[in-house]
Symmetry: C3
Subunit: 342 residues, 3 copies
């Protein structure tokens, strides 16, 4: 691809360098060669720009490098432009319509012709599978499920009764969508009586779900993951939760039931959210933190239980010396007693 | 169903309202309609009772509402009675005996006729599958496994060699029962030598296991989950553990090997239990806590490492101001020095 | 097996007892019988030696017991020798070459004749499966995967495009190798733009991976697990990580992307490692700790965020009384004010 064409494709301005330079791939500064485009987004990597072999480099407006021998592409956001370049050179494999003879599809299911259904896929009664869908081997789709256009579901995934998955979603391997929520009433003899879990999960468009995650159905009604949200591996979403749009939920985070997570919320790795909470839009919980209270929009909280991130940073800094503090406190008490006895 | 019949079915007393009122479902106060039964268990929702459209409401003895237009059912525990009502209106789907031609069953296995065996299920040598069992698609049962009456195993689950699962259990999708425990001896050259893991897992009656959980076999002997215990999603139970009866183990909790958990213990979300410990009956570990020591029966502990929950609440309250405490301590020291120099 | 032959097999010296004593198994001191070999490695169990029914016991050099009626085997490390004995008496089941008719193998795959391929296994294009490999039911191998000699992959595992697995590896059930890393660029309108994940995972020889774990492919290049490392259940390894040789990663631990973990590192249960870090050789992170900074070789750290384990032990001891410390601090302040007013 000519540099000028790439620039247009990824919304960059060609600032310097030959417009017809042949670019064949995109790579990091350290490994890029003369036919690769690279990028600088983090000032930490500026020294690498001085020695990179890349043929072209994407820079955010205002960033200067002392290299006249490399083509320069200007972008509003170099990292986003580089990601777009990667998507140009490494597109998702196109669909190759097929229906493997070892797939088992109920005759009441409506499956579009333009789909990939691989070996040992099982599709239940009354399912709807739209055009462009890929179901990799050993996927199990229970009865009444709807899967929207161009969605990819990887091997080992189970989608339970009546769940609905939007368009352009990706579900990585071995995840579970719509299994029963953890709901029991405790009887007077301290046994657990199962509460029927008859709701479903609705996943809106452009959602990605990682590997080995589980999203429980609602006891009644629905659990909902809204448009554009990305969920990592080994994440637990309890029954009847709602996750807003464009949220980011990192690996091994867990939500108990019935919480409502706002738009663009970021839950870092191994976070815990108790049940029946509200986490406001744009809030952030840092890694390994937890909350059993609502979180206001835009707040960043940390700790177990979580509180304001800046206060937490101060508290954790002091915590490292807490043994010394305790000792100092005892010592000051002694000195006060002496002063009092004067 | 007539109200009077429902009352009998769920062990309530019909206090007021027409005995032959037709009730067709159960729902929360906010969405219930004139043919629904609802309930009030948490005083927080009392305002909703004043405006609910429900035809009948279940109340615990001693609770009064100012509505004469709704039928009232009295229960010892309104939440339990409501759960029973849900179970009346949303029963588990009955078994539809079938043996899918794409299932692969070893000829030495003893499989009852009254079972559902779905597509791509694999059942190994010498297995016993009792009446009423449902095995959903893509379940793998290794050799020598016994599955008791009316147990349901969802798609993607693996049950390893010689494990035994009791009656009326439910195992949600993609869980693993009986994989190898994490046992190695460290050699003098600091390599890890695998300790054979030749035991099994025994799951007693009425146990439920969530999605994507893993329960390791014992190295020798058995790991055991006792009657009535409920385990959530993404839970890790290490080799040779014993979990008591009617325990509740919430999502993403992990137990290392050889621990013994008592009856009715509650481990909240993301708890960690080190190896070779004893957690006494009725103990509670709150969310995200961990212990590397035994826990006495009936204790509630919190924190990492865990200690008495009331003390932990005080400590975490103080922790939020720990930066200020450190500053104050330095300041007091200055003032003491001045006093000493007088 | 004769005792003298067992001693030779497990590199022990027969110190006392009849060389031709018939030993048929290995078991713990409490359950061993006259034809079992047992061991004493932890002084805590010394009382059990006095009453054990074992026919022979393995002791580390320098340890004495007051029993002349038991055969004694001397070892450099009794625990390692006992593990070797277990491996003698409980060997891994030998391979029984088979290719189940319900397996689906692409014709371009090169599959050795000496393999076990069970029902519903799916093997993609251009895969290489070497001699001695066992693929249990419902395993999915995507295109371009290589699986080395004598490796065992249990049911429900997915191995994604182009991954490479070494010799003598074991992958427990329902784990995912090579699914997409969690990589997105945030656009100016706060949406997440997927970064192509086109790398792979390389697993070297003698690695074991537990159940329900997920190891992400690199975005470009490779994630690598080096020789001899053992990974437990429900572990998350993010994209482009490198794990050194002979490391031990316990259950529910999570690594974000691009971290480099040294040789012989031990990450205990539920540990968290942030992205782009370096954890030096032989470092240890204790259970439930986390780090967002590099860790020096040989260090043992604890806490969230982690710091020196000995300091952490002091800090956590003081933390239990933090409520009292806060109260004491207020009280001392009062007393200082009084002193100042004198």
């Amino acid at each position: 691809m000519k540099l000028i064409d790439l620039a247009r494709e990824i919304s960059c301005e060609l600032e310097s360098g030959p417009p017809d330079l042949n670019i064949t791939s995109a790579a990091g500064l350290d490994i890029a060669g003369p036919s690769d485009v690279s990028f600088l987004a983090n000032p930490k990597y500026t020294p690498q720009v001085q020695v990179t072999q890349a043929g072209a480099v994407i820079l955010t407006h205002g960033v200067d490098i002392k290299r006249s021998d490399i083509a320069i592409l200007r972008a509003k956001d170099a990292y986003v432009a580089y990601t777009l370049a990667l998507r140009v050179f490494f597109p998702s494999p196109p669909i190759v319509p097929c229906l493997h003879p070892a797939a088992v599809i109920d005759e009441s299911a409506q499956v579009d012709k333009n789909v990939e259904i691989h070996a040992n896929v099982v599709i239940g009664k009354n399912c709807i599978v739209e055009s462009g869908v890929k179901l990799l081997p050993n996927v199990t789709i229970y009865d009444g499920v709807k899967i929207g256009r161009d969605t990819v579901i990887h091997s080992g995934v189970s989608v339970r009764e009546n769940c609905e998955i939007g368009a352009r979603c990706i579900i990585q391997n071995n995840s579970t969508i719509g299994s029963h929520g953890f709901g029991y009433a405790r009887t007077s003899d301290k046994k657990w009586l199962k509460i029927p879990q008859v709701g479903r999960v609705v996943i809106e468009d452009d959602v990605e779900i990682g590997a080995n995650s589980s999203i429980d159905c609602a006891s009644v009604g629905e659990s909902r993951i809204k448009r554009g949200t990305k969920i990592d591996n080994l994440v637990q979403i309890g029954h009847s939760c709602t996750i807003g749009e464009d949220a980011l939920i990192c690996a091994q985070t867990g939500l108990a039931g019935s919480s409502v997570i706002g738009d663009r919320v970021i839950l870092a790795g191994q976070v815990g959210i108790a049940g029946h909470l509200k986490v406001g839009d744009d809030a952030v919980l840092t890694a390994k933190s937890a909350t059993s209270h609502d979180v206001e929009p835009g707040k960043t909280i940390s700790g177990i239980p979580g509180f304001d991130n800046r206060d937490w940073l101060r508290s954790t800094a002091a915590f490292r010396r807490l043994g010394d503090m305790a000792k100092k406190l005892r010592e000051l008490q002694e000195r006060i007693i002496k002063l009092e006895q004067k």
